[in-house]
Symmetry: C4
Amino acid sequence: MQSIRTVCSKISQHSLFTNIIIGLILINSILVGLETYSSIVERYSSLLHIVDRLLLWIFTIEILIRLIGSKSIGSFFKDPWSVFDFIIVLSGHILVGSHYITVLRILRVLRVLRAISVIPSLRRIVNALILTIPSMGTILLLLGIFFYIYGVIGTMMFQSIAPEYFGTLHDSLLTLFQVVTLESWASGVMRPILAEDGSAWWYFVSFVLIGTFVIFNLLIGVIVTDVEKANNEDSPSPTDVKLNELQAELQEIKQVLQNNKK
Amino acid sequence: MQSIRTVCSKISQHSLFTNIIIGLILINSILVGLETYSSIVERYSSLLHIVDRLLLWIFTIEILIRLIGSKSIGSFFKDPWSVFDFIIVLSGHILVGSHYITVLRILRVLRVLRAISVIPSLRRIVNALILTIPSMGTILLLLGIFFYIYGVIGTMMFQSIAPEYFGTLHDSLLTLFQVVTLESWASGVMRPILAEDGSAWWYFVSFVLIGTFVIFNLLIGVIVTDVEKANNEDSPSPTDVKLNELQAELQEIKQVLQNNKK
Amino acid sequence: MQSIRTVCSKISQHSLFTNIIIGLILINSILVGLETYSSIVERYSSLLHIVDRLLLWIFTIEILIRLIGSKSIGSFFKDPWSVFDFIIVLSGHILVGSHYITVLRILRVLRVLRAISVIPSLRRIVNALILTIPSMGTILLLLGIFFYIYGVIGTMMFQSIAPEYFGTLHDSLLTLFQVVTLESWASGVMRPILAEDGSAWWYFVSFVLIGTFVIFNLLIGVIVTDVEKANNEDSPSPTDVKLNELQAELQEIKQVLQNNKK
Amino acid sequence: MQSIRTVCSKISQHSLFTNIIIGLILINSILVGLETYSSIVERYSSLLHIVDRLLLWIFTIEILIRLIGSKSIGSFFKDPWSVFDFIIVLSGHILVGSHYITVLRILRVLRVLRAISVIPSLRRIVNALILTIPSMGTILLLLGIFFYIYGVIGTMMFQSIAPEYFGTLHDSLLTLFQVVTLESWASGVMRPILAEDGSAWWYFVSFVLIGTFVIFNLLIGVIVTDVEKANNEDSPSPTDVKLNELQAELQEIKQVLQNNKK
């Protein structure tokens, strides 16, 4: 039993194993792309189905090998990327006979995301991007409060004037998201409302000013901080190299002094 | 009398007290959200009214406890956030019987902003954002002059061609704000005017070039400076750690020298 | 004669003198703003005219005082801001009787710009902004070549399909400027052309990709460099403070060593 | 034979030679600009043709001189810019008699790009910009996967609702590129689809959020890193100058100690 574990562990760490999986994910990607063309689906329907079933089973075997090859089941499920792989493959089996065809197809598309969990450099970047989210926590909360207040006020004031934009609180929040991306905020949203309610401009101008300013601060602040951190960690700066030299020289002087003493 | 002050001070600094207030602000937030749905307002009109009155009184008691618990009335009103809380609650009482229903409803929505004054991390971020405003003072004045000159010239030149965009100075300034956000500046504003006045392009192109350049400088300059400041203050850099080590070694050498001397 | 020069020099450096001029520029600003409202112009036509003439003469006297008060006529005209002030005022006199009413009115508006030459902090910021332009020289030339090539190719290919956007080289360059600001580049410009010429997407997508990337590099690169320079110059960093301490200690050690020797 | 090589080498490195080529490229640029005006083409057709042929031959001679003047043919073709010049000129000769008039004209326009290969400062900037591309490799791959998944899902879900935007996978990718530039993403693309499929908003909002966040990280991260690198390499910082001083002083102390010993 132990030997099987060792074999699986060796296989799962072999670069050929990883490369084959990357290749299969690529084939899976091309497949889901081809499936969007109805003419191809009609002609090769059964072939596509067979390849798809085949890929699912190969991925299942891959997960099993990695699961058996890991130190313990616990350590396998500790890595969020393994859990992600496991869920993607498992749900493929569970939903196979169901009638939720759209869900099944989306699942097949999401298998492309497995490229991230398999290619280390991609996994590192995504991990880094996800790690920036907690440091944005408070400012995202602030943005949330800001959106909510403007959403409620907007619904109250423009509900009857522009029902397609501010009909319900949910519509208003979507509209405010559109406004904060500056897309048609004036020509599409503000000007028609301004024609009915001449004082509506303060609502939009203040929202755009505050919103873009806070988001800019959020994005640039977080990113610049991250970049600087990464720079500091990555490689020793010329200053640090110099300092190490100085330290070595100080050591020498100390040594000389010790010798003098004797 | 003194004992009441001590009790109030203890209560107002207790974390449970803060958490309850945060919870009540959350309930208030949900309430103002629900009030935007007319079907809910119709069915639960009286219930919503009662809860709203209740919240106002609880907030009043909260402010009173904090007011009594503070060292002096002066110190309470020194903190702008306390003043903000006080005004929000007080105006709720003053306007209660009035006919300005919209104002009253907006006041209820603004109570959600109290989340900022109650949650310390939010208060810190907002304070930081507000503190960046003075350092932008001169550049904002420059932007103001720039907008005003283009506004007056735009009104002079396009008043009759495009009255909906440049009818009055006020309209022109709003249009220029739209142009500087790059929203429909060409398709919506410039091209129709260009059809009448073939030389109008220089007005818009120069405005977009100068405006976006100055604003970019403003935003990025201020933010990058802030981030760097924050980084320098936050944690000692590896360089500084190294320097401290060097200093320690120098001390050692000095000590050795002193001993040699003796 | 020398005494007049001294008096003028003293006057022109007095803060009250500057403040009065700032006040008069403010009045001039309000005036040109009011002149955009035709109802006001009709009623107070003669009054506006008189105040305007008065302001022009006061500004003339101001320039004369500063001219006389300067060390020499050469040193006065060395400062570009003085030249700017001089031209603005002089052209007001030259064009006074002419029929170019629009030019005259724009001149009056441009007098508002004198606020920059009078308020020192504004002058410093504008100088700083202008100083960044040379460092962008090469990249602006690159952008120019890039725009020109795309402009010529665009005119060649889409002249007959979309004459309003790519009719002449001049139109194309304006359209490309619109595209690079991302304003209606797809909905307004690309999609109608795409309906006629299915391969036009590569033209727009490549232009947007290259254009925004180069401009981003240009803007952020220049600005971040500037900010860093400014930071380095401004105040000694904590690292530098530390290094000074270390140097002082080294001096001490040297002194001790010298004393030991004796 | 050797002497010819020396002469050619001298000529090709002479600044006059470079300036003449820059001048000719400028003339070529003006020419291709003039050719977009059909009235000019009609009147000066033969003249334009002659000048164009002449320029092509001069450029051919220039390339030949540089080719002969280089150390070896291998070293000439090692520089990508020389290869670029060579291809541009060669293809002008190959395609001269062909019927691909549009291709020929685009070739003539691309000759303007030779300005980059001839002017050193431009070549340096373009090289620097190209060098940033590899460091964006992984994040561009990530963006590719992200676009592909959203493209496939979008085609699957909105193929029948909005065939002009999501008809084929290719259309979807183009639409997603438009959405990520925030151009008419809401007014043009999302809202019409939302009217048919009320749950489509999560697709667009999530795409905009993830897409702009990743691209922002990509652009700013890469650029800020580059700027910092450039700053570090450029000139020694005041810190480094100080460190060199400290090192010199340490050397002195060591010397003193050595002398003491003797």
